[in-house]
């Protein structure tokens, strides 16, 4: 077969296929790419709904519903109370915030605001940073205002998004009447009645100490990870993540604040 016949054959083949085969593959590739992008958008919405639902359940003391949102190995960490693993333990730990259904005179508002949800490119995991204003009340006590932030992670299991890790960092808490400037309150420690599975993963104190939890997402413009941050935790009792002697290289805002007093 000469080059000419080959060319002829190729042309014939080309004519016989009215540009369908290459176009088909092209369309299929485009659809697949589009489908992936749509799925990632759906994932983001699903994660935002999931976290909002958690907030609504937690507010009203629906511990069963809130705990059911966690994956089997999911973890729950609130302030300095330590870490609880798995829906069953998490549901029990939530009783530390009041009885199921809250009951009279209890307010447990934990707002979930300002989300930055980052879905991994493969669509199987995600992270979320949320702002969390808090309004509290319990019988026989004055009301409290609080504020904090969440650094959470999520996992998609069997097509359903679940909470893999919820970590609420209370950053300030105060008496309703006196306010943050006059009466900052400190967080509860680990419960003696129902001890956590692990101690707090980060030891810090809330306002007036300044503490800044690491960011789960990279800077959206520079692309830099924000993991090394200026405001350290608490080295008064030693940093569990650095051994008991955290050294003198970095002074925490806590000790700096105390030195200045």
């Amino acid at each position: 077969m000469s080059a000419r016949t080959l060319l002829k054959a190729a042309l014939l083949l080309g004519l016989a296929l009215p540009a369908v085969a290459p176009a088909q593959t092209d369309v299929r590739t485009k659809i697949a790419a589009c489908k992936h992008r749509v799925t990632l958008l759906e994932d983001q919405d699903a994660v935002e709904n999931l976290q909002a639902a958690y907030g609504y359940y937690f507010d009203k003391g629906l511990w069963n519903q809130a705990a059911a949102l966690f994956s089997a190995k999911g973890s729950f960490e609130y302030g300095q109370r330590g870490v609880y693993f798995g829906p069953a333990r998490i549901q029990q730990a939530m009783l530390l915030f009041g009885p199921q259904g809250l009951g009279k005179g209890r307010l447990n508002n934990h707002m979930l605001l300002q989300p930055i949800v980052t879905v991994a490119p493969n669509g199987q995991t995600a992270t979320g940073r949320w702002q969390g204003m808090v309004m509290l009340a319990e019988p026989g006590q004055n009301g409290k205002w609080g504020v904090g932030l969440y650094e959470n992670s999520y996992v998609k299991e069997g097509g359903v998004w679940k909470i893999a890790r919820l970590h609420f960092y209370m950053t300030a808490l105060t008496d309703y009447d006196l306010g943050f400037a006059k009466m900052p309150l400190q967080m509860e420690g680990p419960s003696a009645l129902f001890p956590p599975d692990q101690p707090p993963s980060e030891v810090y104190r809330s306002f007036p100490n300044a503490y800044l939890p690491a960011f789960s997402y990279d800077h959206p413009v520079t692309g830099k990870p924000l993991k090394t941050l200026p405001m350290q935790g608490d080295d008064i009792v030693g940093r569990p993540d650095r051994g008991m002697d955290s050294g003198k290289t970095e002074e925490s805002s806590a000790s700096r604040g105390m030195r200045q007093q």
Partner: protein
């Protein structure tokens, strides 16, 4: 060898074409249709959020006409224990009277309807949606009074016949309105919520739905959708 391969490939393609061609085209159409519906639902969720946030911004500053125009012709609004107002004209007049009877706000009137934490569930066909929102109200009048309000919205939206998303029903379950100097923790039973003077002077079209409860009693507006992980209906009611 090369030639043989080309010939073979050509034959294979030619042989496969008559069968797979139309089938492919059909499934491509079906895939694009399915994908289009998913995109419409994503767009719908965003349209619903925009609607509700717009409602907040309009009511904040006394744009009653614009707020009422967000509703369908038969749309309804229900706030606290004031009862249900139906239709744009009634919604507009109710909102106006509730805020002093004028367009816009007056000097010293504080009226922030902060609307947060959307939980939006789209219907499978992408033509309607339901959403739960959190309400944080900062209300008051300079030198006279100031209040905090806490509440939850359970609202219903529809993509109307004109293709525009609108509010079909808005229900704000008020958990409490409390004077700022007093705070929520000193509220006694029955103090957290009361029927507005507007509702008494300008009665609603229908009485308030359901039993009203307010802080310090536990309040739990029913959830429009199931638990997103268990998939089961949330059946708990306030204790």
């Amino acid at each position: 060898m090369k030639r043989a391969m080309i010939a073979l490939a050509g034959a294979a393609v030619l042989a496969a074409l008559p069968v797979s061609g139309p089938v492919h085209a059909q499934s491509v159409d079906a895939e694009i249709a399915a994908l289009t519906l998913r995109v419409q639902k994503l767009e719908g969720a965003r349209a619903v959020k925009k609607l509700q946030r717009a409602f907040g911004f309009y009511v904040d500053r006394g744009l009653w006409d614009d707020a009422a125009d967000l509703f369908t012709d038969n749309g309804t609004i229900e706030i606290g224990v004031d009862g249900v107002y139906a239709g744009k004209a009634r919604i507009k007049e109710y909102l106006r009277r509730l805020h002093g009877g004028q367009d816009g706000l007056i000097y010293g009137q504080l009226n922030e309807w902060v609307t947060l934490q959307p939980l939006v569930d789209m219907a499978a066909d992408g033509r309607s949606a339901k959403a739960r929102w959190r309400d944080l109200g900062m209300l008051g009048q300079y030198k006279k009074h100031a209040e905090w309000r806490d509440g939850i919205y359970e609202n219903d939206y529809v993509k109307d016949q004109d293709g525009v998303w609108k509010i079909r029903s808005l229900h704000l379950f008020v958990n409490f309105v409390t004077p700022v100097e007093k705070g929520w923790a000193r509220l006694k039973q029955g103090e957290g919520i009361e029927r507005s003077a507007t509702s008494k002077a300008f009665p609603p079209d229908r009485a308030a739905t359901g039993k009203a409860s307010a802080f310090p009693d536990p309040q739990l507006p029913a959830f429009h959708g199931p638990n997103p992980v268990s998939g089961r209906t949330v059946t708990e009611t306030a204790r």
